[in-house]
């Protein structure tokens, strides 16, 4: 396997971008990443997108978007794993370079979610659950995570306030990220007084509906060194992908995210790293409970210790392991197909020392964890300065 590096990053601001169609969002991120990398030709384009069909009425994105850059003819492929589609696009690009099938890959993720109303967006996101045996009964994504939260709270004594602390932390981090959807300081009381969405989860426990796109340029470490021009070279040292049952009815232990644990173990094994080696992580906080459960599944904290950890500030900027320095899905926004790519961008920015006010000092090893549905899939990448 060849060593793979990230040589370019680019993203749109995340938000309710009424003026901008999907193709322009995507092109803006792609052009920025190609410019950052200093390349104008790629061997492959990968696109992570969950549901452009339901959100915008457009499929066949790979060809449509390659053409949008004037690249018709280039190999292009869209991949889908619900909200982990972006992470899967990173892995698809990584695999092609590692295998020697491509030298330079443009990895992208995009979602345009605000062309439909709230009920239709909720329905579209709900298709990442088991449509026939869960969705039929009217359950929503907040509803599924609410069910997981209730089990976690009963099993480990995780508190409502600990869930709220995830939102408080991530909104504080988002204040420092110019690309974030919300620049909004929230308090524990704000979260606890916000509207109930699915008991016990409230509005400020939930990531928002967002438009946005993100892109990376990947190549070999060898080529990256030639193009680096003094910039740190960031290598993808570990990539892990795993599935779990989509339906919660078939899930073994509802207090654990099994796909996250497996994807993490695979990424750690490939990178030759352990949880103690990770300096910072972007994890998939689609709901506050998801961040707590992900930090346990990735081994940063023992099962049941994720809630107390966020309460003690261990995952704050400046804490033992800063989590979601970008603001996370909660504050930065969650254009589902773009999220997994944007997570990697945050880690690359941190490892390059480009993260400004939210810079984690001395960061040399970072992790990005992306998740689909209610934990039915997960993709984990470990990145390191070489």
């Amino acid at each position: 396997m060849r060593d793979v590096a990230v040589i370019g990053v680019g993203m749109t601001s995340f938000g309710e971008l009424w003026r901008t169609p999907l193709r322009s969002l995507w092109a803006e991120a792609a052009i920025a990443a190609l410019g950052d990398a200093g390349v104008d030709r790629v061997d492959l384009v990968t696109i992570g997108c969950m549901s452009s069909g339901l959100f915008t009425g457009q499929e066949h994105l790979a060809s449509l978007l390659a053409d949008e850059l004037g690249m018709a003819g280039v190999p292009a492929a869209r991949v889908e794993s619900a909200c982990a589609s972006g992470g899967l696009a990173v892995r698809a690009g990584f695999a092609e370079i590692a295998a020697g099938l491509a030298e330079v890959v443009l990895v992208t993720g995009v979602e345009k979610m605000t062309d439909v109303d709230g009920a239709d967006a909720t329905y579209a996101l709900g298709t990442a659950a088991d449509a026939e045996w869960e969705g039929f009964h009217g359950v929503t994504f907040p509803g599924l995570y609410a069910m997981l939260a209730r089990v976690h709270m009963q099993r480990f004594g995780t508190t409502r306030e600990q869930l709220a602390r995830v939102a408080v932390k991530n909104h504080a981090n988002g204040l420092l990220n110019r690309h974030a959807q919300y620049h909004l300081k929230v308090s524990v009381a704000d979260v606890l007084e916000s509207t109930l969405v699915a008991d016990p989860l409230r509005l400020l426990d939930c990531s928002p509906v967002t438009d946005g796109a993100a892109a990376l340029v990947l190549t070999t470490v060898e080529r990256a060194r030639e193009l680096a021009a003094g910039k740190p070279v960031v290598r993808i040292t570990g990539s892990g992908l795993a599935t779990d049952t989509v339906s919660l009815a078939n899930r073994g232990d509802l207090a654990e995210l099994g796909a996250v644990r497996l994807a993490g173990e695979r990424a750690y094994a490939m990178a030759g790293r352990t949880p103690d080696d990770i300096h910072l992580a972007e994890v998939h906080d689609c709901f506050t409970i998801a961040e707590i459960m992900a930090t346990e599944a990735l081994g940063f904290f023992a099962a049941g210790d994720g809630g107390p950890a966020v309460e003690k500030g261990l995952t704050d900027l400046g804490g033992r392991i800063p989590v979601n320095t970008s603001g996370g899905l909660k504050s930065k926004g969650h254009p589902v197909g773009a999220t997994g790519v944007a997570q990697v961008i945050e880690i690359v920015s941190q490892l390059r020392g480009d993260a400004g006010q939210r810079q984690v000092e001395g960061a040399r090893v970072g992790m990005a964890q992306n998740m689909g549905g209610s934990g039915g899939s997960s993709v984990v990448h470990i990145l390191e300065v070489v």
């Binding site: 026939e132 039929f136 069910m147």
Partner: protein, 133 residues
């Protein structure tokens, strides 16, 4: 999508709670599959699910998806039946959502599930109600 064809083909499970018992290992699958996830068995006998169970976990949906906007607040639970099979169902006849709890005994009843979707079909299935006595 909630199509008439889908409603029709799901009648055995929605209306009659038909599951498949693996003749190799005895695992009961709901909905039925072609291969047993426990033992790889390919041979099944149709078996009707028991109706009694308990709530494993639950929520109350306050922001519903399209098709359920008339039904909020909508209590939904993951129920484990007495034979160990788990299924997602609505909880019906809940006067006070605060009264719901993990471990609550429930019984499945045949009810109307949704009716205002784009297919124009009235969907029936089973919901859980609190078991008394």
């Amino acid at each position: 999508m909630f199509s008439p064809a889908r409603a029709w083909r799901e009648f055995p499970q929605r209306y009659r709670l038909e599951a498949a018992r693996c003749t190799e290992c005895g695992k009961v699958l709901y909905p039925p599959r072609l291969i047993c996830p426990e033992c790889g068995g390919r041979d099944f006998a149709t078996e009707v699910l028991p109706r009694d169970g308990t709530v494993v976990t639950y929520t109350v949906i306050r922001v519903p998806p399209a098709g359920f906007t008339e039904q909020t607040p909508l209590p939904i639970a993951l129920v484990e039946l007495v034979n160990g099979v788990r299924l997602m169902v609505q909880i019906a006849d809940v006067a006070d959502p605060e009264s719901l709890e993990i471990g609550m005994p429930v019984r499945l009843e045949f009810r109307r599930v949704s009716w205002d979707g784009e297919a124009g079909v009235i969907f029936y299935g089973h919901k859980a109600v609190r078991a008394t006595g």
